[in-house]
Symmetry: D2
Subunit: 341 residues, 4 copies
């Protein structure tokens, strides 16, 4: 039985993480902490947890956390995680960080997109990017995971087969992404009030979103070529879920035979993956089918010179807490789907 | 052509008020003000107004407002209005106050529900409660209007015929009210974030809402007896609109003949009212039918000893800015529906 | 391992029932049927089930069902169930019927509210009303359960303590109920199209809803007096969840001491219930906290002569499929919360 | 005063058209018709119109329509319009057809996308495509208008400046379009039920939507080159509004100076247009700003080799009924914004 703690538990990802771990047969949650006005039963903060867990949420006390936990999940805002991770790793704890702090290997790019200098280059080197479908072997050995961003998870899984097989023109990748509002976190802000979002839809951070370099880093690695995607995120008037519609040009070098049956190619690439589901010809994912689940659904349309790929995930599950538990399962040698199906 | 100003224009009621006034043939908006970081084109604050109005929104400058305007609308938070109204009235401006500051005649009750002592008893006496269907004659003479609350508008119009004719047991009135989220104003708050409201529904301020005494005051006046309603407001996951389901016991003293055909009784009571629509037998209002309009729709069901009345308004129109313009029309002797149909 | 079948699986309750049973350690789903154009993988009908279940959904074949199943859930429209139940019971199958066909003991009332004569009086007598918190002992012995309606579940649990202890005036009970749209089922109809529901709210079947007699039957039983509630259902623009705001007058005969601390009284009444959660003083349920779960949350406010009780459930879980599985757990002697927490 | 009729008034476009025409000072609605079970007051069909219009909606009677109306709007399903238009034009009526029947000049393409052969080639030739910003001069002379589709309106206005000036690679145009649900019309269908759309988002008719050829036809005309866009529509969980995110490659032949300041280029192109609003640098449209209005908002981002253009309209107004009235204003020589601002 793993003794797990969650730091930053009062955000949306933290709330979902509790829910998943409570149904996981190999985990006991032993410590919950967050920025709170006063120590309080977690079931008072989240009344939906009443009758399910009796644990007090306090301000993070690292000494206590280190003494109680085997594994610590960080569901903290960006730039906060890197102040805490070194102390946990020094105490030999396993750590899964859901923030962006250890995802980008290039600290200049980190600074450009997150606005601050990186403060923990030592551990940055050892952080494993926790996308199991691509880096499972590294995750098996890892004690410190940088859990992927939500948009990158859907984008990378949608593009990995084509990038790895060098079937596409890497400069042509356009990702038109749409996310539910929990992706923006639980911070009071006029722009996220119900009447500002409901019955509205808009793009934001047009081609300057901080998840672009994360996608570039992984796809460049897979294709062994530098590349930059065009990435436009939009805000959907719904709670949970991401759908990305991706447009690419086939590589001129790609032999037609190679791209003949793309759905088959994807099915083969993801043959052993329990959480990636490839749609049949003419079928496409919808957010409804993945909400509440750790799946990534992918549909593909061959349009001659272009390919359209559509992928969908739950931003809080496969895009955050579910993937974190999937990583945990791999790190500890549990069945990968344990507690997640 | 009336020269009008709006103080507190950046809230939801202010935004809707601009929209209505821009289509009013007898009004020119000449001054817009609110708590703003810096003077700014109103069309930059509300891009939907681009190409429709070119006016800069500044911090309120009362000297300027008094020199430019004939009529001033206050769309301010409660307790702020009463600091400004005296200065406008002193300058002989006509004033329509959309806040609650001048609605309650009893300052003890004001203090109990709004948490502060009233600061302008002098003008409180002269404020006319701007519900045209009940107080039209007073409004005609008035230069200072306390524009009714949204919940009270729907409740009073639903109950006025029965209260005025003493057909109901006044202690039995139960108002189960449901409002869209714009009713809560445009203030950043965790509880009003999109994911906290969407797919949720809940009661709040259960039987302690500050609109109860406003309803009591008017209905007590109409029935010439003290009375207190039971009032439970709820928050609907939608932007605009209020629906109230009201339950009353018939008065034992009421002769059966009097309550025989309630829809007819209501139709007669509101015969000359352009903005009250009484539903036929078996039909009931819905929010959809009143959103964007200044109507109050009312349906009635006779259940023997009990009567169920259901009323619906747009909280920002008949429940705020539309009613304010209706009051303006009456004050200035314009056709009452001008700019509102 | 119980071998279970679901007839009528393509509706909302059926879909949720699959989801719950797939996570139940003592059940194997062996037969899925519904009115379908052609036999089809259930994961094609509900793509969210892909990778989770491989079973073909066919038209119901009772011979096959009887030969394969120990237990059959009926998620059929009203009036259809009673054509099928006799054949299942004759074959000695255990049956949990989610329709209304066997809930009302009085066949005249059944005819009045459902428009057809009852066709299976023999089994009607033996059907046990499956509300575990009230009828657990009967359920333990039962082989045929009439699973309660969604509105009645929330209403009865909210009122049972007061009715059983005779603390309220039974004629005064007013239930103002609000339900999400899945309560209306998955039948194409203009009135249920997205734009007809979204941004709208309305009452329907005002005081003539078919769930009223179900509530009356149980509360009359508990209080040992005939009674009829006033019941007004409304349609919320959200998918899942019911919230009911209930108003009652205290019985004049009730000693003040008895109703002194109502929250305590409720907590005591439901002390051993795993799925009923009583809110503390000043706290009230919200739909968000029960969606996806088998809980019924209840908050109580003492208003002197009146009491306000607010209850919330997920209409598809505690109001349908979750309660059905709770009943199954009791019938088979499993821990009552198995697969439900 | 124009005497206008609307055939097919019970759909969403018809409903909005009544609303607009009721506020138009130069129009009197004299005939309303649609497929209806029996003649009925339009205010019974749409209770929101009560107190605003007293007119009976009947089955279309062309003799009566021709005798009463100067101008007829057709808000009919595709393939129905072309059965009626000839009879109206023969009677010398002016006609604005909101369906797709007369938009595509190539009848083979019409057949491919709408599944039937065109039945009125004679009038097809004379139909003017009613996009005022592009074809104003033709509209002035026209007596028969094919009112544009909703997606094409937003797409063409977004791309017209670049296409007309030959600044882009025409084969590179990708239109990622998102529409509210009223775009699908008011027909009962399981897929459009509230719970199927709410909290969901999905693509449909991926690159095979019938609006693609309409966009191709106009852009090919503007650029004087054949071209085909990549077009993926998606369904948003909201009632009204379209937002399109469009990606194009700059033409290699385009001199850098030409595309230096794209917002300025757009502002110049649309300088005299009352209903096209170009956003400043770094600003982008949102659906909220155009709902209820006849505006098309456009924002542009220069990304080096690529350009991203985002446009937003209300699908029922600028995408249907508002544009129809704008066309009417032009045909009759009224100020173009009359009744629309």
């Amino acid at each position: 039985m793993i003794k797990a703690g969650i730091i930053g538990v009062t955000g949306y990802a933290g709330e979902v993480l509790i829910d998943i771990l409570l149904n996981h047969p190999e985990v006991r949650i032993v410590n919950l902490s967050a920025k709170v006005a006063k120590p309080q039963q977690i079931a008072e903060i989240f009344p939906k947890l009443q009758n399910r867990i009796a644990l007090i949420c306090t301000e993070p006390d690292l000494e206590e956390i280190n003494s109680q936990c085997d594994l610590v999940f960080l569901a903290l805002p960006h730039t906060v995680s890197m102040q805490i991770v070194p102390k946990l790793l020094k105490a030999k704890k396993k750590v899964i960080d859901l923030s962006a702090d250890y995802r980008l290997k290039n600290i200049k790019i980190y600074k450009k997109f997150y606005g601050v200098s990186h403060k923990d280059k030592a551990n940055l080197k050892n952080a494993v990017y926790g996308l199991p479908e691509i880096y499972r072997n590294k995750i098996k050995q890892a004690s410190f995971i940088a859990n992927p961003g939500c948009y990158p998870t859907a984008a990378i899984l949608a593009l990995a087969p084509l990038a790895a097989l060098n079937l596409i023109d890497l400069d042509s990748v356009i990702i038109d992404a749409k996310s539910g509002v929990t992706g923006a976190g639980r911070k009071p802000s006029e722009g996220l009030l119900f009447p500002e979002i409901n019955e509205d839809f808009k793009a934001y951070k047009v081609n300057i979103h901080q998840h672009s370099p994360e996608i570039n880093q992984v796809l460049s690695g897979l294709s062994r070529k530098a590349m930059e995607v065009t990435f436009v995120p939009h805000l959907l008037p719904l709670n949970q879920g991401i759908l990305e519609t991706i447009y690419v040009n086939k590589a001129k070098s790609a032999k037609p035979a190679k791209t003949k049956n793309l759905a088959e190619l994807y099915k083969k690439f993801y043959k052993k993956e329990p959480f990636v589901r490839i749609k049949g010809e003419g079928l496409f994912p919808r957010i409804k089918d993945v909400v509440g689940a750790n799946f990534c659904d992918i549909g593909i349309k061959d349009c001659g010179d272009k390919i359209i790929i559509i992928s969908a995930i739950d931003n809080l599950i496969k895009g955050a807490s579910g993937q974190a538990v999937q990583n945990m399962n791999i790190m500890y040698g549990f069945p990968e789907t344990l507690g997640l199906l």
